[in-house]
Amino acid sequence: MPSDKNNKIPFNEDNYTHNIERNNERKLDRRGFMKTLVGAAGVFAISSLPWGMVAAKELMGLGEKEYPHKKITDVSKLAIGDAMNFKFPGDHDDAILIRLSEKKYVAYQNACTHLRCPVFWVKEEGEMICPCHHGKFDVETGVPTAGPPRRPLPEIQVKVENGAVYAVRVKRYEV
């Protein structure tokens, strides 16, 4: 809308403190709103790209690679029923190893599949618990049993060799 104030700066107005015409200056009109929506669609499109690229990379077989076996701990240092944290496969991928019996060990990546809070092993209750929103996981399988998480914790395959526990690989989900 043309205005006699256009191109006359400062325009002739003796009001220097309330110089925003609130009824007009900050109005979001229909077209502006549509522009915002289109921009948001663009942001969604661009933000999909990295996910797609990582997925494509995994599909090309890089995800199946076996990681170098990593020693977690000595058998003698972990009592039955206890748990310990370690990093696998990368230095920033937290994981938890739980010794369930003399021979049986289980290990999972311990980022809760809800919002990635760390998951803890509660020995007394025999459950893995995410303290953030009280998610619970079955210790035998990693399947969520209560709370908001819907996906199982990624399992890490371990093997015992020469009195030490090694992390071997991260198990793929079964579809």
Binding site: R30, A41, F44, L49, W51, L59
Partner: protein, 63 residues
Amino acid sequence: MKFKFIGVALLCAFLMMNIVFTQFMVHQFYYENYINVLIFGGLNIVVFPLALYTYKKTKYEKA
């Protein structure tokens, strides 16, 4: 509904689709169904030109 708001409604629908596709994409990623990730990511990208086209078609609509 006034005719001039059809574009707004369409764009809102597109954005809703974006949100749904993104949600699916992220979940399928963590389930490691990478084909589905590519499908939903692709849909997300296709929606943007559609939205742009809709905007260009409807920005001058009058009531």
